[in-house]
């Protein structure tokens, strides 16, 4: 691959962006005086900041690279993750899950599960998320440093990795969620400018949408399905329509938007319940535009770089930037990629820290008979873990993430527990008869079933059946939770007061009860 150097104006734009982010992030330090300020921004976030932050936290530089790569190989069906895999799930999250989490005043989703089921469910769920987020942090750092900056600029990936880790680490360490959210707002604007700039240039070079359509279809029968969002069930690619509808829209996406700490933590910091719900919906609208700037350039690359090959598909966007973007615009695009990378890293960093403090160390202290941590201790520990995480993930980034088809690999990791997690979360809220033992059995056996499905050959037509693994593990965990719950002792009414969705929707007393439990 040919290396391109940056013009001084590009370097200036990237430098200004980096310094600006650092200054804005560290400025937010003045708003952090307690653990609540650090972890959930003192419950003061407006809906627009939440919406911006949800999208920026979800879209990393990895998406620019990997979704474009998936679109190059599989066509527009790769965009399902940001369309069908987002909006319906965000609406369900806004009106079923978020009001509960917000009213209960919890810091994390595992903490909510701990209140509804038991501390073992909280600990296991927290541990799973901590490990997954650790992997994701390492992957996004290496992917950005190696496949982006090294490919295009020839920069040493280790220098890029430590530079971004250093800047994001500093402002997340000092400003907590407030710093993360307000830098996210700026970063999304920068991402949109850079991303839509690349889209406009790509379409211009190809000759517009109609020309793109004609040229791709004329390249051979292997491209016949590249403009179909929902592919036949027996396709060998990873995105058949049954997997998209059942596995993605109904399970993985709902679990991701309702059970992923990185996403939900922003709504927990909302200043009102309306802002929490509105933030989710506004985020969904903003997210609908993401495929235009991450997937369509991948399609254009089929025409402009036809000999890239499936094995190098993840290099589609870097090559498009190298080919199409002039000096100045390239600086903006790089600022956008740095924005995506840094926002994703800082969001995951803050959420992983929150889970470590609340659900892992908090629970271990609880089991050892020690009381809850003081405000000062929780804040100090939070900052220490932020630092430890950014250093350890930067050190382990290369061995964890240096592999092909990284997007499918990431989705496969998520699919291995999303189904069971959603099953116990859903039953915990809508079914009062679900018990602590039922939730524990559903979670543990459900995750084991995921591994069995993934490693048993010949079950599905798709070569990467992670969408079906998510769907069937969800069904399996639902059944296990229901059966074990019916065989075990019913939870007391006092424990469930204000935690059942049907009563909370209709009954003001039940709604108040949920808030009283916290105070």
């Amino acid at each position: 691959m040919e290396i391109v150097g940056l013009h001084p104006i590009d370097i200036f734009i990237v430098f200004v962006y980096m310094v600006g982010s650092l200054m804005l992030g560290t400025y937010c330090t003045r708003f952090v005086g307690s653990a609540e300020d650090f972890f959930i921004a003192g419950k003061a976030l407006p809906f627009w900041a939440i919406g911006f932050s949800i999208v920026t936290s979800d879209i990393g530089a990895t998406d620019f690279v990997a979704v474009a790569g998936a679109a190059y190989t599989n066509g527009v069906s790769a965009a399902n993750f940001d369309w069908m895999g987002s909006m319906p799930a965000m609406v369900i999250a806004a009106f079923v899950f978020v009001p509960y989490f917000w009213r209960s005043g919890v810091f994390t989703i595992p903490e909510f599960l701990g209140r509804r089921y038991n501390t073992a469910v909280q600990f296991i769920n927290g541990l799973i998320w901590a490990v997954v987020l650790f992997f994701m942090l390492a992957i996004m750092q290496w992917l950005s440093a190696d496949k982006l900056m090294h490919t295009i600029l020839g920069w040493n990936p280790y220098i890029t990795l430590w530079l971004t880790a250093g800047i994001t680490g500093i402002y997340t360490f000092s400003g907590g969620l407030t710093a993360v959210v307000f830098t996210d707002v700026v970063q999304l604007v920068v991402m949109y400018v850079g991303g839509f700039g690349l889209l406009a240039l790509s379409l211009w070079e190809v000759g517009g949408w109609s020309a793109l359509h004609e040229k791709v279809l004329a390249m051979g029968p292997q491209y016949a399905d590249h403009f179909r969002l929902l592919l036949p069930h027996n396709t060998t690619g990873p995105f058949p329509w049954t997997g998209i509808v059942f596995g993605l829209a109904l399970v993985m996406a709902v679990a991701y938007m309702s059970g992923n700490q990185v996403i939900v933590q922003r709504t927990l910091g909302a200043r009102s319940e309306w802002d929490a719900k509105g933030g989710m919906l506004f985020g969904g609208l903003l997210k609908a535009m993401i495929p235009l700037m991450v997937a369509l350039p991948g399609l254009c690359a089929i025409v402009l770089i036809p000999n890239l090959g499936s094995a190098n598909a993840d290099r589609a966007v870097p090559e498009m930037i190298r080919l199409l973007m002039p000096a100045g615009l390239r600086g903006l695009m790089f600022a956008a990629l740095f924005a995506a990378m840094m926002s994703h890293i800082s969001a995951s960093l803050n959420s992983t820290t929150t889970i470590f403090i609340t659900d892992i160390f908090g629970q271990i202290r609880n089991w050892m008979g020690k009381g809850p941590m003081s405000e000062k201790m929780a804040l100090g520990m939070g900052r220490f873990i932020t630092l430890a995480l950014i250093i350890s993930t930067a050190l382990l980034a290369e061995p964890i993430a240096n592999r092909e088809h990284i997007y499918v690999f990431m989705q496969t990791i998520l699919s291995l527990f999303q189904g069971p997690l959603l099953a116990i979360l859903l039953l915990g809220i809508i079914w009062p008869r679900a018990t602590g033992y039922g939730g524990l059995a559903g979670l543990v056996l459900g995750v084991m079933f995921c591994f069995v499905l993934k490693y048993t050959p010949g079950l599905f037509a798709s070569a990467e059946p992670f969408l079906f693994v998510a769907w069937w593990s969800f069904i399996f965990a639902l059944i296990v939770t229901i059966v074990v719950s019916l065989l075990t002792k019913r939870e007391s009414e006092e424990k469930l007061r204000g935690l059942c969705w049907s009563s909370v929707v209709a009954d003001e007393d039940a709604q108040e009860a949920l808030q009283e439990r916290v105070s």
């Binding site: 036949p232 719900k277 919906l281 609908a288 050959p457 010949g458 079950l459 037509a461 929707v505």
Partner: protein, 92 residues
């Protein structure tokens, strides 16, 4: 390591799981693609109907700063989902 796990799962779980999943896959493989297209559009439409018509409006808008059509989250839901319906209709 991965090969050992695959061989283990294939031996102990493969026959029973294939007995369940192979017929399901065959049945799903015969569904025409226009059904898939309408399933995609249908998910968005049903979600809009659920929020707009079935959920308690007081619950949907609880905590809103002031009463106005622009702060009604039912309208927000419809506005944010409509572009998706258009996209899935176009690419069906």
């Amino acid at each position: 390591m991965e090969d050992t796990i695959t061989a283990f799962c294939d031996k102990f779980f493969g026959p029973a799981l294939r007995y369940v999943f192979v017929p399901i896959n065959e049945a799903l493989g015969h569904i025409p693609n226009w059904v898939a297209g309408w399933c995609g559009v249908g998910i968005f439409l049903l979600t809009m109907i659920w929020v707009g018509l079935l959920l308690n409006p007081k619950y949907v808008n609880r905590g809103r700063p002031y009463k106005s059509i622009w702060t009604d989250l039912r309208l927000w839901t419809v506005i944010s989902m409509t572009p998706h319906v258009v996209v899935y209709f176009y690419f069906r």
